[in-house]
Symmetry: C2
Subunit: 98 residues, 2 copies
């Protein structure tokens, strides 16, 4: 099924070290063709670092950035703080070169 390609594995960038996510990306890309790195707010800079370090140092000349997309997402407030906040998001897709 060609649809299977859409289920690329996703890495959500959080508070861990950059290198932890790089290792996850490298592991995914050793098994499959594609890996999607997603982040919001302040973690966006880290997502770009993860993509760049993976592409340049660990899998040099083997993967390329096939998509970079930015957007916004609304975060619903909770009872304590009911204000809805808008945060920026990023998705970076790394794909193996043919």
């Amino acid at each position: 099924m060609s649809e299977e390609k859409e289920h690329s594995q996703i890495i959500y960038i959080g508070k861990k070290n950059t290198i932890s996510y790089v290792l996850v990306a490298v592991t995914i890309l050793n098994k499959s063709d594609e890996c999607s790195i997603q982040a919001r707010g302040r973690q966006i800079s880290k997502a770009v670092d993860v993509a760049e370090i993976t592409r340049r140092k660990f899998l040099a000349d083997k993967v390329e950035v096939s998509k970079v997309e930015i957007g916004s997402e609304e975060l619903q407030g909770n009872e304590e703080n009911p204000i809805t906040k808008t945060v920026s998001t990023v998705e970076i897709v790394l794909t193996k070169k043919e």
Copy 2:
């Protein structure tokens, strides 16, 4: 000259408030068709915020993100700290819709 289009005005994201850069972007886009937002390192998240706030709040439905590119840049060390560092970079281009 069609080449003039390439000289789109560039905003380099630094340490000022997000909203200061949004206002610069809005001012540029009121006069010309295109504006390039560039940042490196930790300022990358702010660059995405600037692009998203400009696109969604200030010039809603009038501009779109026509390009997002990530890369790396080498920063030469100085005498005190001679180590060359690599930083991630981003360029986001906002273009007026036709």
